[in-house]
């Protein structure tokens, strides 16, 4: 297990290196660039040349890349040119990361908490109206674009239910400890701050949860259908065990194996969904920074954020694989 983990982490380093090189080259192939984005209408050839030199963009790409790697090794990922000009890219990431994690975490929790039980029920009532209804519902969940749903929720639910239509901004009047709004309130005992942060998270996390929910629902349903046909479920029934015990120990424990894998793969969808959701609800997270960074060609910020997203994705999937081994002894004891 340990060797496996180490091997995966070494692979991760390779992935990050290759990815950063590709990103580096790709960004410089994009039309426009930080110089025209920064100068805008006031651009003159002289000013542009000066700024290009100042940013080091006049050097050959591979020289720029080597320099970037050298600086990155010391924790210096460059200075933002577009998102928050002048701030270091790393600071921007650290400031914004907690909001995105919070949003994604609540979204995946909602998706699991609703998707798994509904998937189980639909499988148990295969072919019934509940099953048909929720299968269609999950299809809609996948098909409706996140940003559309986000706008609908924002307008309809915030008016109808009086929920905040925007995410929590950085201006909150509360003690910051970890940078996670919900957690800080708990740590400092400022419960109203936690409550306020949660309230602001409801609509955005629901919007972000729809696709993972639909996928988790469908995978759970299919997995439970498979497991219900297994001989060991019949053995459990032949023992006269209670329906609850059979569900928990024999059906769900086996059906969770594919679901756990799916949850890992959904992190990718979650990160891309966060870009749209944060934009619609004006949440000052990584996704918002990515969107702005792309518009303004903020190379250092884009590079760092995309690499960090990749690392998160790979690490989450590593954790998923490890927990898979925890559930499935056939892998653990091999």
């Amino acid at each position: 297990m340990l060797r496996y983990t180490i091997r995966r982490l070494v692979q991760l380093v390779g992935v990050v290196l290759v990815l950063s090189l590709l990103l580096f080259a790709w960004m410089r192939l994009l039309p426009g660039g930080p110089v025209s984005a920064l100068l805008g209408d006031r651009s003159t050839p002289e000013k542009a040349a000066e700024l290009t030199k100042q940013l080091g963009l006049d050097q050959p790409i591979f020289v720029q890349y080597i320099k970037f790697l050298g600086r990155a090794a010391t924790g210096d990922f460059g200075v933002s040119t577009g998102v928050q000009p002048g701030d270091s890219a790393l600071d921007i990431f650290l400031q914004r990361f907690p909001a995105t994690i919070e949003l994604s975490f609540f979204a995946i929790v909602i998706a699991i908490a609703i998707g798994v039980p509904l998937g189980y029920l639909a499988a148990k009532r295969r072919g019934g109206w509940f099953d048909n209804f929720s299968v269609i519902g999950s299809l809609i969940g996948v098909a409706v674009p996140v940003f559309f749903l986000a706008y609908v929720l924002k307008d309809a639910a915030s008016v109808g239910l009086g929920l905040p239509s925007q995410g929590r901004q950085g201006d909150i009047n509360a003690t910051r400890v970890t940078g996670f709004f919900t957690l800080d309130g708990v740590l400092t005992g400022e419960w109203d701050a936690t409550f306020d942060a949660l309230e602001h998270l409801i609509l955005p996390s629901i919007a972000l949860a729809t696709i993972p929910f639909a996928v988790i629902f469908r995978i759970t349903r299919a997995a439970v259908l498979d497991v219900l046909d297994e001989d060991f479920v019949r053995t459990a029934e032949a023992k006269g065990l209670t329906a609850q015990l059979i569900r928990r120990r024999h059906v769900l424990r086996n059906a969770m194996l594919p679901v756990v894998t799916t949850i890992g793969l959904q992190t990718g969808a979650l990160l891309s969904g966060a870009v749209l959701t944060e934009k619609v609800f004006s949440i000052p997270g990584v996704g918002q920074a990515l969107a702005i960074g792309f518009e303004r060609r903020d190379y250092p910020v884009l590079l760092l954020l995309i690499i960090m997203a990749t690392i998160v994705y790979v690490v989450v999937n590593l954790l998923v694989d490890l927990s898979y081994a925890l559930i499935d002894p056939r892998i653990r004891t091999r």
Partner: protein, 332 residues
């Protein structure tokens, strides 16, 4: 009074867009306390469906069950789901064909044994573990303490089936149903498993319904034998009587098709021609007629009734005359 009284048990599978299929067609048999009764027949003749109907394990939808299954005087078919759950594993145990797929791959063996003890005997987890160790010991699993912590894939096929036997007998049920318990195992292991089962049911005084397609299994085990064909019992007799003097052409054919140790070298086995087909086999005459060497014209017109012949039940218009050697090749 018999421990188990099955009367006119009929199971019809009804699927959307398909003809109803009569898998079990009026099966009746008794099992006395401590007795071993065989249900024998080729694959597809309704043995498993019969046993699942007795256990209340057929799918709720799509299977229409009629008749009665009296256990100690109570009709199991009339019990609620909850009442049946209280009885399964406690009054009736069951062992299935494939020991690997019949055990939960992600739950340790120990828990799969203790859960039934906790459920029906009210033991704590700790007490149940001690009992589970004794049980594994009894079914001949070496080093039971280690095995309790292991998972099914770490055990051999024979050991898995031993564990399943331990589970089925954990609450000392009065009735054990074994559905082809040795079919999925190596030939060398089969005899060991059968002798473990035989020993245990004798010790516990448990009655056994042994389901098999293999008359060799019946020969060493059963007091009474029911031969099934197309969902009906075609011949029922005490074991020695059935083996010494098979009267139904199907039974006769089955006996002729098993290898015998005392066969002369070069003597040919005579397999039964053809195979079972048809969704309501007994509707027009005898279901065995297309394969039967004794078939008469009446066989395809009138369904043979069940007749009691001196302690033997027989469903045939033209039974085999005692002493007839195995039929030669039958023209098809």
């Amino acid at each position: 009074m018999a421990l188990l009284e099955v009367r006119d048990l009929t199971v019809v599978f009804q699927r959307k867009g398909e003809e109803p299929f009569r898998a079990v067609d009026g099966v009746s048999f008794d099992v006395e306390p401590g007795q071993t009764v065989g249900l024998v027949g080729e694959s597809g003749c309704g043995k498993s469906v019969t046993s699942l109907a007795i256990m209340g394990l057929l799918p709720k939808r799509g299977a229409k069950i009629s008749g009665t299954v009296k256990y100690d005087g109570t009709d199991l078919l009339k019990l609620s789901d909850k009442e049946m759950r209280d009885r399964r594993g406690r009054d009736l145990g069951m062992v299935f064909q494939d020991p690997l797929s019949s055990l939960n791959p992600v739950v340790p063996i120990g828990l799969q044994v203790t859960e039934v003890l906790e459920r029906h005997r009210g033991l704590s987890r700790k007490e149940a573990m001690i009992e589970a160790k004794n049980l594994l010991d009894k079914v001949g699993i070496p080093d039971p303490n280690r095995r309790l912590k292991e998972y099914p894939h770490q055990l051999s096929g024979g050991m898995r089936q031993r564990a399943l036997i331990a589970i089925a007998l954990a609450c000392r049920p009065k009735l054990l149903i074994a559905d082809e318990p040795t079919t999925a195992l190596d030939v060398t292991i089969q005899a060991q498993i059968l002798s473990v089962m035989k020993e245990l049911v004798q010790d516990l005084g448990t009655a056994l319904v042994m389901i098999t397609h293999d008359l060799g299994v019946v020969a060493g085990l059963c007091d009474e034998v029911n031969v099934l064909y197309g969902g009906k019992v075609v011949e029922k007799a005490m074991r020695h009587k059935l083996f010494a003097e098979p009267r139904h052409p199907y039974t006769h054919g089955l006996l002729a098709s098993i290898p015998r140790l005392d066969a002369a070298p070069g003597e040919k086995l005579t397999p039964i021609k053809g195979s079972v087909a048809d969704n309501i086999p007994w509707e027009h005459g005898c279901a065995f007629a297309p394969r039967c060497p004794n078939a008469l014209d009446v066989c395809v017109q009138v369904t043979p009734p069940e007749e009691d012949q001196l302690g033997r039940l027989l469903r045939c218009h033209n039974p085999v005359v005692p002493g007839t050697p195995a039929a030669e090749e039958v023209p098809v």
